[in-house]
Subunit: 293 residues, 3 copies
C-alpha cells in the first residue's frame, strides 16, 4: 500500500434536508480537498459524525479534518454547534466553524464596513430588525468593539428579549431596546446614531429614505437585504461606501465581497490547527486581520 | 491563504431517494472535479440549491459550476429541470443538462444510429412504445430531422396524446398515432416504414421477428431494451448494424457505446460556458458533432 | 474532450441515516479518489446503486470501482452485503467489503493479536459476549485457525444459538456454549483456556481482575471495549501486550492500530481486482499478510 498523504476533509453539517450548495462551493474554493456533506442533521446524530472525525487520524493530523455547521435555520445550527463542541475532550478535538445562512460572516463584514468610517468605540449604532440571527450577531460585534447599540424591532418587548440574549454572550454590552415600527419610534432610535444597519427579512423596507436623510449624525448606513425593495429605502444593493445624503451607504452586494473573503479565510484557517471554534467573534477577528493585512 | 484555482463542480439533482451512482460515475469520468450529489430533491428545494451554484463564484467563473438533472423518474426530472431554469436571470445562470434515466442520451444515440443508414429527411419511422419518455424523445428528434413519425402504442388514444405532447415541443412535426397491440395494427404501422425503434419497458416484446422480416421497406431496426426478451424479437442486445433479413439491427448494448460517448461529451461541454441548457435536441446536436468529427 | 484517466471510486452504502464519517475518512486515507456516500440505504435500493457501479466502466476498468458496506447496524449491513453480491453475474462484478461498525477489522485485529503469543491451532479460547456481531466474528476466525472456542453469554441458550450461527459459516468449528453471568459459570468457561477475548457492549464489565488472575493457563487477554469501565477489569484500553498476572493484555486502543492498518489495506486491495468479496475471513487473511510482511 502506497503512503497516501492526508487530504484536508471538511465535514459539512446542515439541518436542512439538502446540504447547502452555497456553503459547499465556498468550501471547495477555500481549498478543502474532501467534503463530506450531511443534510437533515439532528442533534442526536452529531456525536457519531464528530467521533468519526476525531478518532480516525492521529493526533498530529487532526488539524487536517474540520467541521462546518451551516444551514438556513440559525437556531438549529447553534444547537448542532454546541453538540459538536460537547464531543471534544482534552486534545481530542477538531476545529469547527458556525456560519448558518452566512449569519456570522455577514455580520462580521457589515461591522467591518462600518468600522472603516466610524471608530466603533463610543459610537452609537442602530440595528433595525436587530432581533434576528444576523441582527443579534451584528449587535454582539458592535458592542464588543465598544459601541452603544440600539436594538430595533417591531415590538419593544422583542427588542428587550434580544438584548437579554446578547447580554448572555457579552455581559458588558451597552444595549438599548427600541420599537421601530412607528415613525416616532424610528426617529427616537436614530437620534444621535452614527451607524444604522438593517438586518431584516428580504424585501421588507425598514426605514424611509427621508428618515435616513433627516439624520444629521448618521455617517454609515448598511442594508444587508439582497432582495428588493431595500431594507433602507434609497440604498442600492450594489452600494459600497456610496455617499447618499450625509451617510456612506453599503448594500448587500457591496458587503458581499468582504463577506466571501472572510468566509474563505475562516475555512482555510480551520485546517491550520485542531482547536478552533469559530463563532461570530472569532470570525470577526479573522475579518479584521484581513482588513489590516 | 493560497490562491486556489477553481475546480469544476457538478451539482447532481435526483428525485430518487438515493442519487444515481450511474450518473455520478459518468460525471467523474467526464472530468467533473467536484460532485455535489443530491437525492430526494423536490421542486421546492431547487431554488436554494441553484442559487448556491449561481451566487458563489464570479461571473467569469460561472462556467466552472453546472447542474445535472437525473433520476429514474423522467417526469419529476423534467419538473426539476424547469425549476432550475426559472432561477436564472440575465447573465446570472449556470449550464444545466437533463438526462433522467438516460432518456435524452439514449434517444440521441438511437436516432444517430438510424441516421447512419437512412437519410432521415423524408424517411418514415415507427416508434414502438412511442408514448414513453424515451419514445417521445426519439420521435421529437426524428421529426426535427424531417422524418414522418408514427407513434405506436397499446391504445390509439394514448398515441394521439403523445403526438400532442411532441407537437408542443416541435409544432412542425409530422406525426401519426398508431395502435400496435394487434398484428393488423402493427402491419399498418410498419407499412412503408424504413425505420423501426422499440422504446418499451424492459422485457416486453413489441414486434415478432416474422413481422419485422415481412417488411420489404425496413432498413434499420433498433431495440433499446437491455433486458430479455427483446422488444424486437430476434434482435440481439449486442447487435450493432447487424444484418437481419432486410434490416440493419441494433440492440441496447450496440447503441450503448455511442450513448455513453454522447453523455460524457455533453457533460464536458457544460463547463465550457455558463448558458447551456441541454435537453434532447441539444444533446442530439452534440452527438451529431461527435459522429461527424 | 480530453482523455480523462479513471479515478478509483468507492461507493459507501450505510443503513444509518447519515453515512459514517469514520468509514469515509479511512476510505479517503486509503487512497479512494472518489467517494459516493449513501446513508439510509435499504435492501430495495441496492440493485440500482450497484448496477450503476457495474455498467458504467468497461470490463478492464471495473476494478477501479468498488463497494463498501458499513453502518452501525451489523445485521442490516449483512443484508445489504448479500444484496450487493446478488447483483453480480459472470465477470460483471465489482469488489465489495463488509465492515459494519468495524466488526470485521476489529475481530481480525483481535485474533491476530492473540496469534502473536499463542499458536491458535489446538488452543482453547473463551469469547465473552460472544453472541454479538464482533464476538461471533472473533469465534469464526479462531475456529478456522483450529482453536476450540467457548462462546460466553448471559444465557446458555443464547450462546447455543450463536454456536449454531457460527456453524453455518464454518461447519467444522469446535464450539462450546457457556453461561458466563455467574462466577461459577465464568470459572468453568475459563478453565484451561489460554485466550480470553471480551467483545461486549461498551462500559459493561464481563470478568473481574481476580478471576482473570486466578487462571493458571491464561496467556492472552484482550478487551475490545473502548469505554470505561473495561470489559476485562484491570486491563487498560491502551494495553498492548502488557503483562498483567500470567497474561499478556490488550485493550481496545492497543488493538486499534492494527485494526486501522487492516481496514486501510483491505480498502486498498478492493481496487486491485474486481472480484473480491471481503468478509471476516478474507479481512483476517489480509491482516495476517500484513503481520508476516
Amino acid at each position: 500500500m502506497k503512503n497516501v498523504s492526508k487530504s484536508t476533509i471538511l465535514v459539512q453539517l446542515d439541518s436542512d434536508p439538502q446540504p447547502s450548495v452555497f456553503d459547499s462551493v465556498v468550501a471547495v474554493d477555500s481549498g478543502a480537498e474532501q467534503l463530506f456533506r450531511h443534510g437533515g442533521v439532528t442533534d442526536a446524530q452529531v456525536r457519531d459524525l464528530v467521533y468519526g472525525a476525531m478518532f480516525t487520524r492521529g493526533p498530529d493530523e487532526l488539524h487536517r479534518t474540520a467541521v462546518f455547521v451551516g444551514g438556513s435555520n440559525v437556531l438549529a445550527a447553534e444547537h448542532l454547534f454546541a453538540k459538536v463542541r460537547e464531543c471534544f475532550f482534552g486534545p481530542m478535538r477538531v476545529s469547527v466553524m458556525l456560519d448558518p445562512n452566512g449569519a456570522n460572516t455577514t455580520a462580521a463584514a457589515a461591522v467591518l464596513a462600518a468600522a472603516r468610517h466610524v471608530p466603533l468605540a463610543g459610537a452609537t449604532a442602530l440595528i433595525l430588525a436587530g432581533t434576528g440571527p444576523v441582527g443579534q450577531r451584528v449587535a454582539r460585534l458592535l458592542a464588543r468593539q465598544g459601541a452603544a447599540v440600539r436594538i430595533g424591532s417591531r415590538a419593544r418587548d422583542r427588542a428587550s428579549e434580544a438584548c437579554g440574549e446578547i447580554h448572555s454572550y457579552f455581559p458588558e454590552a451597552k444595549l438599548q431596546p427600541h420599537e421601530t415600527v412607528t415613525s416616532a419610534g424610528r426617529q427616537a432610535a436614530l437620534d444621535g446614531a452614527e451607524i444604522v444597519i438593517a438586518a431584516g427579512a428580504p424585501g421588507v423596507e425598514l426605514l424611509a429614505a427621508s428618515e435616513r436623510e433627516a439624520s444629521s449624525t448618521l455617517r454609515v448606513a448598511i442594508d444587508l437585504s439582497a432582495v428588493p425593495p431595500a431594507g433602507l429605502e434609497g440604498v442600492d444593493m450594489h452600494d459600497k461606501a456610496q455617499q447618499r445624503g450625509n451617510a456612506l451607504c453599503y448594500g448587500a452586494l457591496g458587503v458581499g465581497g468582504a463577506k466571501m473573503k472572510i468566509h474563505k479565510s475562516a475555512l482555510a484557517q480551520l485546517f491550520t490547527r485542531n482547536d478552533l471554534a469559530l463563532d461570530a467573534e472569532e470570525i470577526y477577528a479573522i475579518g479584521a486581520a484581513l482588513e489590516s493585512a
